[in-house]
Amino acid sequence: MKRRYFDHVATNPILPEVLDAMMPYFREEYGNPLSVYDLGMNAREAIENSRQQVAALINAEPSEIIFTSSGAEANNFALRGIALARQHEGKHAIVSRMEHHSILNSARVLEKMDFAVTYLTPDKYGTIDPETVRRAITDETTIISITHASSEVGTIEPIKEIAEIAHEKGIVFHSDAVATVGNIPVDIKYLGVDLLSMAAHQFYGPKGAAALYLKKGQRITPLIYGGIQEGGRRAGTENVPAIVGMGKAAVITGEQIVNRMNHVSVLRNKLIKGLKKVPNIHYTGDLEKRLPGHASMCVEYIEGEGMLLLLASKGICAASGSACTSKALKASPVLLSMGIPSSLAHGSIVFSLGIDNTEDDIDYLLEEFPQIIEKLRAMSPFAAKGWADMEEGGSCTAKN
């Protein structure tokens, strides 16, 4: 059975040209970039070349790029690193409920270190109103971190406006752009951010390579201490092949981003149009200001894990924010923060498209998915008569 991959927010396949660029750095060019002989110098040169390529993708200076191992590391580094570097000026951070776990859990660690954190609630489209950011600012606020886009609902946040508000008060602004870099143009000068996280595997580069953009002159406390790599801000022998791959992927992304956006938007629109015949599908997120290849929805009266398993049995890969698909058995905090009832959030499903998807993939999905919904709804006690009085209320603990 042919695999149809619609989970590009989870990760992406690596481009063959990217892998080719990486291969010599596994074999012949295995040097440590700190070594003075030719192998070391070659590795150093490769990293610095990649730094220029990654910087160019987001309109930054090469010296403003710090390579990390993952988007999660970049997010941990940004939030904690700025909060700690500026703790003598204040101990308050602002984040949103739309953030990835790597920001939310870093914020909780800050709370344990006696920082205060404000968690901003989005509107029903998942948008953080810049004015709610302004109202949350106190004399103690030193860092604001708002995601550029949520990979769960696809909404693109007004971070340019939020960055302006932060700067009026002398506050540092970070944005988690892991879901946007490679999917839409990201220009740090236009957006006015001070820090920005990105990950190579989101734009057809390798896993294990990511970066934090840190504006020139901005102080940061390291997360990893050791040698002088990355200007002493991120110790550890560099993952040279992955960093080379990230640079190559950045160059290709810069050349192809408009084509990619057009390709996935056409397919996404075809998917949404094709699903119109299925009743009681509720789209989540902002339908206009959203990631181009992203279709997220709640299918009423059925549950996400069941959909994912039946889709998988047809070779279709997708994602869900349903409680049953999470190890914690809790519905997605992002969906709940948008005011979506938990009964409906259980029916969450996300299709995220990529450059490898074709019209045929969408036709296949439109053939199979409505049948799967129908099959599960035929089993559901709610499909025929609605939620009635079962929705909300009641206690979950009674079942344990």
Binding site: E303, G306, S322, C324, S343, P381, F382, M390, C396, K399
Partner: protein, 124 residues
């Protein structure tokens, strides 16, 4: 994550649907938490002669529902009462630990359906 047997019951569930003139109905669960099971039984001479279900929930919840209807059919009410969460899980070759409580509603729904049958009988 799931056993072959569980996947079979999830993908090819037995006894899906309603029994309009059921002798007993049991509902267990809550859509806020994730899983709701509605179980219908038909009783004749103290034996469960038919059982059907409707379930809102994950793969495990649906497989448990399918399995419990198969286990209940043909049993006396007393024998059916002896079915436990553990015996349903065992019949499915095991459930993942985190699904053992939240998705394992079959035994409770069955016991509620038997209670409902008994209440109706003594009431009439």
């Amino acid at each position: 994550m799931y056993s072959k047997k569980l996947m079979d019951h999830f993908q090819n569930p037995r006894n899906v649907g309603e029994i309009p003139d059921a002798d007993g109905v049991g509902v267990e669960g809550n859509p806020v938490c994730g899983d709701v099971m509605k179980l219908f039984i038909k009783v004749d001479s103290g034996k469960i002669v038919d059982a059907k279900f409707q379930t809102f929930g994950c793969g495990a919840a649906i497989a448990v529902s399918s399995m419990i209807t198969e286990m209940a059919k043909g049993k006396t009410l007393e024998e059916a009462r002896a079915i436990t969460k553990q015996s349903v899980a065992d019949a499915l070759d095991g459930l993942p630990a985190q699904k053992m409580h939240c998705s394992n509603l079959g035994a409770d729904a069955l016991h509620k359906a038997i209670d409902d049958y008994n209440a109706k009988k003594t009431g009439s």
